[in-house]
Symmetry: C2
Subunit: 276 residues, 2 copies
Protein backbone atom coordinates (compact mmCIF):
# COMPACT_ATOMS: atom_id res chain seq x y z
CA UNK A 1 0.00 0.00 0.00
CA UNK A 2 1.58 3.25 -1.12
CA UNK A 3 1.69 5.79 1.73
CA UNK A 4 4.17 8.27 0.22
CA UNK A 5 5.34 9.45 -3.19
CA UNK A 6 8.93 10.39 -2.49
CA UNK A 7 10.49 9.07 0.70
CA UNK A 8 13.92 10.35 1.69
CA UNK A 9 16.08 8.56 4.26
CA UNK A 10 18.87 10.67 5.71
CA UNK A 11 21.53 8.22 6.87
CA UNK A 12 21.39 4.82 5.20
CA UNK A 13 23.09 2.75 7.90
CA UNK A 14 21.63 -0.21 9.77
CA UNK A 15 18.36 1.47 10.75
CA UNK A 16 17.96 3.87 7.80
CA UNK A 17 18.89 1.09 5.37
CA UNK A 18 16.41 -1.28 7.00
CA UNK A 19 13.62 1.32 6.79
CA UNK A 20 14.50 1.89 3.12
CA UNK A 21 14.43 -1.85 2.41
CA UNK A 22 11.06 -2.10 4.16
CA UNK A 23 9.63 0.83 2.15
CA UNK A 24 10.72 -0.84 -1.08
CA UNK A 25 9.68 -4.36 -0.12
CA UNK A 26 6.19 -3.32 0.96
CA UNK A 27 5.90 -0.72 -1.83
CA UNK A 28 5.10 1.95 0.71
CA UNK A 29 6.65 4.76 -1.36
CA UNK A 30 6.75 5.67 -5.04
CA UNK A 31 10.47 6.19 -4.80
CA UNK A 32 13.01 5.85 -2.02
CA UNK A 33 15.95 8.26 -1.90
CA UNK A 34 19.02 7.85 0.29
CA UNK A 35 21.25 10.61 1.63
CA UNK A 36 24.61 9.72 3.16
CA UNK A 37 27.98 11.33 3.68
CA UNK A 38 29.57 8.25 2.09
CA UNK A 39 29.33 7.38 -1.61
CA UNK A 40 30.29 3.81 -0.77
CA UNK A 41 27.28 3.47 1.54
CA UNK A 42 24.98 4.86 -1.15
CA UNK A 43 26.37 2.47 -3.77
CA UNK A 44 25.83 -0.49 -1.49
CA UNK A 45 22.33 0.76 -0.57
CA UNK A 46 21.53 0.95 -4.28
CA UNK A 47 23.04 -2.44 -5.00
CA UNK A 48 20.96 -3.93 -2.18
CA UNK A 49 17.87 -2.26 -3.74
CA UNK A 50 17.22 -0.32 -0.53
CA UNK A 51 17.09 2.96 -2.48
CA UNK A 52 16.23 4.03 -6.02
CA UNK A 53 18.64 6.94 -5.96
CA UNK A 54 21.23 8.29 -3.56
CA UNK A 55 23.16 11.51 -3.08
CA UNK A 56 25.72 13.16 -0.83
CA UNK A 57 23.78 16.41 -1.41
CA UNK A 58 20.80 17.30 0.76
CA UNK A 59 19.09 19.00 -2.23
CA UNK A 60 17.96 15.62 -3.53
CA UNK A 61 15.31 15.84 -0.77
CA UNK A 62 13.39 18.51 -2.73
CA UNK A 63 9.81 17.41 -3.38
CA UNK A 64 9.78 14.73 -0.68
CA UNK A 65 6.53 14.01 1.16
CA UNK A 66 8.34 11.88 3.77
CA UNK A 67 11.77 12.48 5.21
CA UNK A 68 13.24 10.31 7.98
CA UNK A 69 16.44 11.11 9.86
CA UNK A 70 18.33 7.92 10.74
CA UNK A 71 21.58 9.44 11.94
CA UNK A 72 23.03 9.97 15.43
CA UNK A 73 21.05 12.59 17.42
CA UNK A 74 23.67 15.35 17.08
CA UNK A 75 23.66 14.94 13.28
CA UNK A 76 19.87 15.20 13.19
CA UNK A 77 20.10 18.54 15.01
CA UNK A 78 22.89 19.73 12.73
CA UNK A 79 21.18 18.84 9.44
CA UNK A 80 17.61 19.84 10.29
CA UNK A 81 17.84 23.61 9.52
CA UNK A 82 19.43 22.95 6.10
CA UNK A 83 16.84 20.28 5.27
CA UNK A 84 14.02 22.67 6.25
CA UNK A 85 15.13 25.05 3.52
CA UNK A 86 14.92 22.33 0.89
CA UNK A 87 11.72 20.38 1.59
CA UNK A 88 8.16 21.64 1.45
CA UNK A 89 6.36 22.76 4.65
CA UNK A 90 3.91 19.89 4.09
CA UNK A 91 6.51 17.14 4.03
CA UNK A 92 6.11 14.74 6.94
CA UNK A 93 9.36 14.53 8.86
CA UNK A 94 10.32 11.81 11.34
CA UNK A 95 13.40 10.23 12.84
CA UNK A 96 14.67 7.04 14.45
CA UNK A 97 16.77 8.54 17.24
CA UNK A 98 17.31 6.77 20.55
CA UNK A 99 16.57 9.97 22.51
CA UNK A 100 13.61 12.22 21.94
CA UNK A 101 13.32 15.21 24.28
CA UNK A 102 15.80 17.60 22.69
CA UNK A 103 15.12 16.43 19.15
CA UNK A 104 11.34 16.76 19.39
CA UNK A 105 11.59 20.16 21.10
CA UNK A 106 13.89 21.51 18.41
CA UNK A 107 12.52 19.76 15.33
CA UNK A 108 8.89 20.60 15.94
CA UNK A 109 9.98 24.24 15.80
CA UNK A 110 11.78 23.67 12.51
CA UNK A 111 9.28 21.40 10.75
CA UNK A 112 5.50 21.85 10.58
CA UNK A 113 4.75 18.13 10.41
CA UNK A 114 7.37 16.42 12.61
CA UNK A 115 6.64 13.16 14.47
CA UNK A 116 9.32 11.73 16.75
CA UNK A 117 9.84 7.97 16.44
CA UNK A 118 12.15 5.41 17.97
CA UNK A 119 12.10 1.86 16.63
CA UNK A 120 13.44 -0.41 19.38
CA UNK A 121 15.13 -2.62 16.86
CA UNK A 122 18.54 -3.04 15.40
CA UNK A 123 21.54 -4.65 16.96
CA UNK A 124 25.12 -3.99 17.89
CA UNK A 125 25.95 -4.45 14.19
CA UNK A 126 26.46 -1.41 12.02
CA UNK A 127 26.03 -0.30 8.45
CA UNK A 128 23.92 -0.89 5.38
CA UNK A 129 25.47 -4.33 4.86
CA UNK A 130 23.59 -5.60 7.96
CA UNK A 131 20.33 -3.79 7.06
CA UNK A 132 17.29 -6.02 6.70
CA UNK A 133 13.58 -5.23 6.24
CA UNK A 134 12.75 -7.91 8.80
CA UNK A 135 14.46 -6.33 11.83
CA UNK A 136 11.30 -4.39 12.75
CA UNK A 137 9.04 -7.41 12.71
CA UNK A 138 7.52 -7.90 16.15
CA UNK A 139 9.58 -5.07 17.63
CA UNK A 140 8.20 -1.98 19.31
CA UNK A 141 8.29 1.47 17.72
CA UNK A 142 7.67 4.30 20.18
CA UNK A 143 6.09 7.44 18.71
CA UNK A 144 6.45 10.63 20.74
CA UNK A 145 3.92 13.18 19.48
CA UNK A 146 3.21 16.33 21.51
CA UNK A 147 0.07 18.52 21.66
CA UNK A 148 1.60 20.44 18.71
CA UNK A 149 1.99 17.43 16.46
CA UNK A 150 -0.01 17.31 13.21
CA UNK A 151 -2.67 14.57 13.56
CA UNK A 152 -2.48 13.53 9.91
CA UNK A 153 1.27 13.10 10.18
CA UNK A 154 0.90 10.92 13.31
CA UNK A 155 -1.59 8.70 11.48
CA UNK A 156 0.70 8.25 8.48
CA UNK A 157 3.82 7.57 10.56
CA UNK A 158 1.85 5.06 12.61
CA UNK A 159 0.70 3.30 9.40
CA UNK A 160 4.28 3.27 8.18
CA UNK A 161 5.60 1.48 11.28
CA UNK A 162 2.68 -0.96 11.38
CA UNK A 163 3.38 -1.74 7.73
CA UNK A 164 7.04 -2.36 8.56
CA UNK A 165 5.89 -5.02 11.06
CA UNK A 166 6.33 -3.07 14.32
CA UNK A 167 3.97 -2.68 17.20
CA UNK A 168 3.43 1.00 17.95
CA UNK A 169 3.27 2.69 21.36
CA UNK A 170 2.92 6.36 22.28
CA UNK A 171 4.91 8.14 24.98
CA UNK A 172 5.72 11.77 25.65
CA UNK A 173 9.32 12.64 24.69
CA UNK A 174 10.21 13.06 28.39
CA UNK A 175 8.71 9.71 29.40
CA UNK A 176 10.42 8.04 26.45
CA UNK A 177 13.84 9.34 27.49
CA UNK A 178 13.23 8.38 31.12
CA UNK A 179 12.27 4.79 30.21
CA UNK A 180 14.94 4.31 27.54
CA UNK A 181 17.66 5.55 29.87
CA UNK A 182 16.77 2.65 32.16
CA UNK A 183 16.09 -0.17 29.71
CA UNK A 184 18.62 0.68 27.02
CA UNK A 185 21.15 3.38 27.88
CA UNK A 186 22.06 2.04 31.33
CA UNK A 187 22.71 -1.53 30.08
CA UNK A 188 24.90 -0.09 27.33
CA UNK A 189 26.91 1.84 29.92
CA UNK A 190 27.31 -1.21 32.19
CA UNK A 191 28.27 -3.42 29.22
CA UNK A 192 30.95 -0.93 28.11
CA UNK A 193 32.21 -0.56 31.70
CA UNK A 194 32.24 -4.32 32.35
CA UNK A 195 34.28 -5.32 29.31
CA UNK A 196 36.44 -2.24 29.84
CA UNK A 197 37.40 -3.56 33.28
CA UNK A 198 38.70 -6.93 32.04
CA UNK A 199 42.38 -7.12 31.04
CA UNK A 200 42.73 -8.55 27.53
CA UNK A 201 44.73 -11.62 28.61
CA UNK A 202 41.78 -12.84 30.71
CA UNK A 203 39.35 -12.86 27.80
CA UNK A 204 40.43 -16.36 26.75
CA UNK A 205 38.63 -17.70 29.83
CA UNK A 206 35.33 -16.08 28.86
CA UNK A 207 32.25 -18.25 28.40
CA UNK A 208 28.91 -17.41 26.81
CA UNK A 209 27.81 -15.43 29.88
CA UNK A 210 30.37 -12.68 29.35
CA UNK A 211 29.75 -12.72 25.61
CA UNK A 212 26.00 -12.14 26.02
CA UNK A 213 26.25 -9.68 28.86
CA UNK A 214 28.67 -7.42 27.00
CA UNK A 215 27.29 -7.76 23.47
CA UNK A 216 25.96 -4.19 23.68
CA UNK A 217 29.56 -2.98 23.98
CA UNK A 218 30.03 -3.90 20.30
CA UNK A 219 27.76 -1.00 19.45
CA UNK A 220 29.03 2.04 17.55
CA UNK A 221 31.02 4.02 20.14
CA UNK A 222 30.59 7.43 18.48
CA UNK A 223 26.82 6.95 18.15
CA UNK A 224 26.58 5.86 21.77
CA UNK A 225 28.66 8.75 23.07
CA UNK A 226 26.16 10.93 21.23
CA UNK A 227 23.09 9.14 22.60
CA UNK A 228 24.35 9.23 26.21
CA UNK A 229 25.10 12.95 26.01
CA UNK A 230 21.70 13.63 24.50
CA UNK A 231 20.06 11.93 27.52
CA UNK A 232 22.47 13.31 30.07
CA UNK A 233 20.07 14.14 32.90
CA UNK A 234 18.41 10.71 32.92
CA UNK A 235 21.49 8.56 32.40
CA UNK A 236 23.46 10.35 35.12
CA UNK A 237 20.60 9.69 37.51
CA UNK A 238 20.41 6.03 36.50
CA UNK A 239 24.17 5.50 36.75
CA UNK A 240 23.88 6.82 40.32
CA UNK A 241 21.00 4.46 41.17
CA UNK A 242 22.97 1.62 39.63
CA UNK A 243 25.98 2.66 41.74
CA UNK A 244 23.84 2.49 44.89
CA UNK A 245 22.67 -0.97 43.95
CA UNK A 246 26.23 -2.09 43.30
CA UNK A 247 27.30 -0.63 46.65
CA UNK A 248 24.63 -2.71 48.43
CA UNK A 249 25.98 -5.87 46.78
CA UNK A 250 29.55 -4.89 47.61
CA UNK A 251 28.69 -4.17 51.21
CA UNK A 252 26.92 -7.52 51.65
CA UNK A 253 30.00 -9.31 50.25
CA UNK A 254 32.31 -7.31 52.54
CA UNK A 255 30.21 -8.22 55.59
CA UNK A 256 30.01 -11.91 54.51
CA UNK A 257 26.26 -11.42 54.73
CA UNK A 258 25.07 -14.33 52.62
CA UNK A 259 21.40 -13.77 53.52
CA UNK A 260 21.28 -10.10 52.46
CA UNK A 261 23.33 -10.86 49.37
CA UNK A 262 21.04 -13.71 48.31
CA UNK A 263 18.02 -11.48 48.95
CA UNK A 264 19.37 -8.68 46.71
CA UNK A 265 20.24 -11.16 43.94
CA UNK A 266 16.86 -12.89 44.27
CA UNK A 267 14.97 -9.60 43.90
CA UNK A 268 16.96 -8.88 40.73
CA UNK A 269 16.32 -12.41 39.43
CA UNK A 270 12.57 -11.92 39.95
CA UNK A 271 12.64 -8.81 37.77
CA UNK A 272 14.75 -10.54 35.14
CA UNK A 273 12.16 -13.31 34.90
CA UNK A 274 9.55 -10.78 33.83
CA UNK A 275 11.59 -10.27 30.63
CA UNK A 276 11.37 -14.00 29.85
CA UNK B 1 35.86 -46.11 27.19
CA UNK B 2 35.41 -47.05 30.85
CA UNK B 3 37.53 -44.85 33.14
CA UNK B 4 35.86 -45.62 36.47
CA UNK B 5 33.95 -48.46 38.13
CA UNK B 6 31.71 -46.57 40.51
CA UNK B 7 31.27 -42.84 39.89
CA UNK B 8 29.40 -40.80 42.49
CA UNK B 9 28.00 -37.35 41.74
CA UNK B 10 27.16 -35.30 44.81
CA UNK B 11 24.52 -32.79 43.68
CA UNK B 12 22.57 -33.84 40.60
CA UNK B 13 21.51 -30.39 39.38
CA UNK B 14 22.31 -28.80 36.02
CA UNK B 15 26.06 -29.46 36.12
CA UNK B 16 26.10 -32.66 38.19
CA UNK B 17 23.21 -34.05 36.15
CA UNK B 18 24.98 -33.18 32.90
CA UNK B 19 28.20 -34.87 34.06
CA UNK B 20 26.16 -37.94 35.05
CA UNK B 21 24.43 -38.01 31.66
CA UNK B 22 27.82 -37.71 29.93
CA UNK B 23 29.29 -40.55 32.03
CA UNK B 24 26.38 -42.78 31.06
CA UNK B 25 26.23 -41.75 27.42
CA UNK B 26 29.95 -42.33 26.84
CA UNK B 27 30.01 -45.39 29.13
CA UNK B 28 32.81 -43.80 31.15
CA UNK B 29 31.80 -45.51 34.39
CA UNK B 30 30.55 -48.98 35.37
CA UNK B 31 27.82 -47.38 37.42
CA UNK B 32 26.79 -43.82 38.13
CA UNK B 33 25.40 -42.95 41.55
CA UNK B 34 23.66 -39.69 42.45
CA UNK B 35 23.48 -38.05 45.86
CA UNK B 36 21.02 -35.23 46.45
CA UNK B 37 19.12 -33.71 49.34
CA UNK B 38 15.93 -34.04 47.26
CA UNK B 39 14.23 -37.34 46.47
CA UNK B 40 12.39 -35.62 43.63
CA UNK B 41 15.68 -34.65 41.98
CA UNK B 42 16.98 -38.20 42.31
CA UNK B 43 13.80 -39.67 40.81
CA UNK B 44 14.02 -37.32 37.85
CA UNK B 45 17.76 -38.06 37.45
CA UNK B 46 16.96 -41.75 37.37
CA UNK B 47 14.07 -41.29 34.99
CA UNK B 48 16.33 -39.29 32.66
CA UNK B 49 18.87 -42.17 32.89
CA UNK B 50 21.52 -39.84 34.30
CA UNK B 51 22.11 -42.18 37.26
CA UNK B 52 21.76 -45.89 37.93
CA UNK B 53 20.98 -45.37 41.60
CA UNK B 54 20.42 -42.41 43.88
CA UNK B 55 20.32 -41.74 47.58
CA UNK B 56 19.81 -38.99 50.13
CA UNK B 57 22.42 -40.78 52.26
CA UNK B 58 26.13 -40.11 51.71
CA UNK B 59 26.94 -43.74 52.59
CA UNK B 60 25.97 -44.84 49.09
CA UNK B 61 29.39 -43.38 48.09
CA UNK B 62 31.18 -46.34 49.73
CA UNK B 63 33.40 -48.16 47.22
CA UNK B 64 33.50 -45.28 44.73
CA UNK B 65 36.64 -44.77 42.65
CA UNK B 66 35.41 -41.35 41.44
CA UNK B 67 33.46 -38.79 43.42
CA UNK B 68 32.56 -35.37 42.02
CA UNK B 69 31.07 -32.56 44.07
CA UNK B 70 28.64 -30.51 41.97
CA UNK B 71 27.08 -28.37 44.71
CA UNK B 72 27.58 -24.74 45.72
CA UNK B 73 31.07 -24.11 47.19
CA UNK B 74 29.88 -23.85 50.81
CA UNK B 75 28.12 -27.22 50.53
CA UNK B 76 31.27 -28.85 49.15
CA UNK B 77 33.17 -27.62 52.23
CA UNK B 78 30.42 -28.80 54.54
CA UNK B 79 30.08 -32.32 53.08
CA UNK B 80 33.75 -33.10 52.45
CA UNK B 81 34.71 -34.31 55.96
CA UNK B 82 31.74 -36.69 56.12
CA UNK B 83 32.44 -38.03 52.63
CA UNK B 84 36.10 -38.60 53.54
CA UNK B 85 35.01 -41.05 56.27
CA UNK B 86 32.98 -43.08 53.76
CA UNK B 87 35.10 -43.39 50.61
CA UNK B 88 38.46 -45.13 50.25
CA UNK B 89 41.70 -43.07 50.39
CA UNK B 90 42.35 -44.09 46.78
CA UNK B 91 39.10 -42.69 45.40
CA UNK B 92 39.71 -39.81 42.99
CA UNK B 93 37.77 -36.76 44.16
CA UNK B 94 36.97 -33.72 42.05
CA UNK B 95 34.46 -30.90 41.91
CA UNK B 96 32.83 -28.42 39.53
CA UNK B 97 32.88 -25.31 41.72
CA UNK B 98 33.13 -21.83 40.27
CA UNK B 99 35.81 -20.85 42.80
CA UNK B 100 38.89 -22.89 43.58
CA UNK B 101 41.30 -21.35 46.09
CA UNK B 102 39.57 -22.20 49.35
CA UNK B 103 38.14 -25.49 48.08
CA UNK B 104 41.46 -26.80 46.78
CA UNK B 105 43.33 -25.70 49.91
CA UNK B 106 40.86 -27.49 52.18
CA UNK B 107 39.98 -30.51 50.07
CA UNK B 108 43.53 -31.52 49.29
CA UNK B 109 44.04 -31.81 53.04
CA UNK B 110 40.96 -33.98 53.37
CA UNK B 111 41.35 -36.19 50.28
CA UNK B 112 44.56 -37.92 49.09
CA UNK B 113 43.62 -37.72 45.41
CA UNK B 114 41.72 -34.45 44.93
CA UNK B 115 41.82 -32.53 41.61
CA UNK B 116 40.02 -29.18 41.42
CA UNK B 117 37.97 -28.67 38.25
CA UNK B 118 35.70 -25.97 36.88
CA UNK B 119 33.78 -26.64 33.68
CA UNK B 120 32.96 -23.25 32.12
CA UNK B 121 29.65 -24.52 30.91
CA UNK B 122 26.06 -24.45 32.00
CA UNK B 123 23.67 -21.59 31.81
CA UNK B 124 21.39 -19.49 33.93
CA UNK B 125 18.99 -22.44 33.94
CA UNK B 126 18.85 -24.68 36.95
CA UNK B 127 18.16 -28.26 37.87
CA UNK B 128 18.30 -31.78 36.52
CA UNK B 129 15.46 -31.07 34.07
CA UNK B 130 17.82 -28.81 32.03
CA UNK B 131 20.82 -31.17 32.31
CA UNK B 132 22.26 -32.36 29.00
CA UNK B 133 25.41 -34.33 28.15
CA UNK B 134 26.10 -31.92 25.30
CA UNK B 135 26.60 -28.77 27.38
CA UNK B 136 30.33 -29.47 27.78
CA UNK B 137 30.97 -29.92 24.07
CA UNK B 138 33.47 -27.30 22.91
CA UNK B 139 33.53 -25.62 26.31
CA UNK B 140 36.59 -25.13 28.49
CA UNK B 141 37.22 -27.07 31.68
CA UNK B 142 39.88 -25.54 33.92
CA UNK B 143 41.78 -27.99 36.13
CA UNK B 144 43.60 -26.52 39.11
CA UNK B 145 46.15 -29.05 40.36
CA UNK B 146 48.83 -27.99 42.85
CA UNK B 147 52.31 -29.43 43.46
CA UNK B 148 50.60 -31.81 45.94
CA UNK B 149 48.13 -33.23 43.43
CA UNK B 150 48.35 -36.93 42.55
CA UNK B 151 49.57 -37.23 38.92
CA UNK B 152 47.48 -40.31 38.14
CA UNK B 153 44.37 -38.50 39.36
CA UNK B 154 45.12 -35.47 37.15
CA UNK B 155 45.49 -37.75 34.14
CA UNK B 156 42.18 -39.50 34.80
CA UNK B 157 40.24 -36.28 35.45
CA UNK B 158 41.72 -34.78 32.29
CA UNK B 159 40.62 -37.86 30.28
CA UNK B 160 37.17 -37.57 31.83
CA UNK B 161 36.69 -33.98 30.67
CA UNK B 162 38.14 -34.61 27.23
CA UNK B 163 35.72 -37.54 26.92
CA UNK B 164 32.83 -35.26 27.89
CA UNK B 165 33.79 -33.00 24.94
CA UNK B 166 35.57 -30.19 26.81
CA UNK B 167 38.88 -28.58 26.09
CA UNK B 168 41.09 -28.70 29.17
CA UNK B 169 43.34 -25.94 30.56
CA UNK B 170 45.46 -25.83 33.71
CA UNK B 171 45.65 -22.88 36.11
CA UNK B 172 46.71 -22.55 39.71
CA UNK B 173 43.72 -22.15 42.05
CA UNK B 174 44.71 -18.51 42.72
CA UNK B 175 45.02 -17.64 39.02
CA UNK B 176 41.73 -19.38 38.32
CA UNK B 177 39.90 -17.32 40.93
CA UNK B 178 41.55 -14.11 39.72
CA UNK B 179 40.52 -14.73 36.08
CA UNK B 180 37.03 -16.03 36.84
CA UNK B 181 36.29 -13.07 39.07
CA UNK B 182 36.82 -10.87 36.00
CA UNK B 183 35.23 -12.92 33.22
CA UNK B 184 32.36 -14.49 35.14
CA UNK B 185 31.72 -13.16 38.63
CA UNK B 186 31.90 -9.45 37.72
CA UNK B 187 29.45 -9.75 34.79
CA UNK B 188 27.05 -11.61 37.09
CA UNK B 189 27.28 -8.79 39.62
CA UNK B 190 26.70 -6.10 36.98
CA UNK B 191 23.81 -8.05 35.47
CA UNK B 192 22.12 -8.39 38.89
CA UNK B 193 22.77 -4.70 39.66
CA UNK B 194 21.54 -3.51 36.24
CA UNK B 195 18.19 -5.30 36.29
CA UNK B 196 17.87 -4.45 39.99
CA UNK B 197 18.02 -0.75 39.09
CA UNK B 198 15.11 -0.81 36.63
CA UNK B 199 11.61 -0.24 38.04
CA UNK B 200 9.28 -3.06 36.98
CA UNK B 201 6.90 -0.80 35.01
CA UNK B 202 9.72 0.12 32.62
CA UNK B 203 10.45 -3.46 31.64
CA UNK B 204 7.75 -3.42 28.96
CA UNK B 205 10.00 -1.15 26.89
CA UNK B 206 12.92 -3.58 27.01
CA UNK B 207 14.40 -4.86 23.74
CA UNK B 208 16.78 -7.77 23.13
CA UNK B 209 19.76 -5.73 24.39
CA UNK B 210 18.50 -5.64 27.97
CA UNK B 211 17.40 -9.25 27.77
CA UNK B 212 20.87 -10.46 26.70
CA UNK B 213 22.84 -8.17 28.95
CA UNK B 214 20.97 -9.27 32.07
CA UNK B 215 20.47 -12.94 31.25
CA UNK B 216 23.04 -13.85 33.92
CA UNK B 217 20.72 -12.34 36.53
CA UNK B 218 18.41 -15.34 36.01
CA UNK B 219 21.05 -17.48 37.69
CA UNK B 220 20.41 -19.19 41.02
CA UNK B 221 20.66 -16.38 43.58
CA UNK B 222 21.64 -18.62 46.53
CA UNK B 223 24.39 -20.29 44.51
CA UNK B 224 25.70 -16.93 43.32
CA UNK B 225 25.69 -15.41 46.79
CA UNK B 226 27.82 -18.40 47.76
CA UNK B 227 30.20 -18.06 44.80
CA UNK B 228 30.71 -14.32 45.33
CA UNK B 229 31.49 -14.80 49.02
CA UNK B 230 33.91 -17.60 48.23
CA UNK B 231 35.84 -15.26 45.92
CA UNK B 232 35.50 -12.22 48.13
CA UNK B 233 38.98 -10.73 47.79
CA UNK B 234 38.97 -10.82 43.97
CA UNK B 235 35.39 -9.73 43.36
CA UNK B 236 35.65 -6.78 45.76
CA UNK B 237 38.75 -5.65 43.87
CA UNK B 238 37.01 -6.04 40.50
CA UNK B 239 33.84 -4.25 41.60
CA UNK B 240 36.11 -1.36 42.59
CA UNK B 241 37.90 -1.34 39.21
CA UNK B 242 34.52 -1.49 37.50
CA UNK B 243 33.38 1.41 39.67
CA UNK B 244 36.38 3.45 38.53
CA UNK B 245 35.57 2.68 34.93
CA UNK B 246 31.96 3.67 35.45
CA UNK B 247 33.08 6.89 37.14
CA UNK B 248 35.19 7.79 34.08
CA UNK B 249 32.15 7.33 31.82
CA UNK B 250 29.98 9.33 34.21
CA UNK B 251 32.49 12.14 34.41
CA UNK B 252 32.80 12.38 30.61
CA UNK B 253 28.98 12.61 30.33
CA UNK B 254 28.86 15.26 33.07
CA UNK B 255 31.51 17.33 31.27
CA UNK B 256 29.77 16.87 27.87
CA UNK B 257 33.12 15.52 26.71
CA UNK B 258 32.06 13.58 23.62
CA UNK B 259 35.65 12.85 22.56
CA UNK B 260 36.74 11.27 25.87
CA UNK B 261 33.45 9.41 26.12
CA UNK B 262 33.75 8.01 22.59
CA UNK B 263 37.37 7.03 23.34
CA UNK B 264 36.41 5.11 26.49
CA UNK B 265 33.55 3.34 24.68
CA UNK B 266 35.77 2.58 21.67
CA UNK B 267 38.47 0.96 23.87
CA UNK B 268 35.76 -1.23 25.44
CA UNK B 269 34.35 -2.09 22.00
CA UNK B 270 37.83 -3.20 20.84
CA UNK B 271 38.06 -5.62 23.74
CA UNK B 272 34.55 -6.89 23.13
CA UNK B 273 35.46 -7.68 19.54
CA UNK B 274 38.16 -10.09 20.74
CA UNK B 275 35.34 -12.26 22.16
CA UNK B 276 33.77 -12.53 18.70
Amino acid sequence: MKLFNKAVIVGTGLIGGSIALGLKKKALAGEVIGISRSQKTLSLAKKRKAIDKGSLDLHIAKGADLLIFATPPSTVLKLAPAIAKIISRDCIVSDASSTKEEIVRKLEKIFKRFVGAHPLAGSEKQGIKHACAGIFKGSLCILTPTPNTDQGAIKKIKSLWLSLGSRVAFLSPAKHDRALSLVSHLPHVTAFATIGTIPVDNLKFAASGLRDSTRLASSDSRLWADILLSNKKNILKDISSFGNNLARIKSAIKRNDVKSLARILQAAKHKREILG
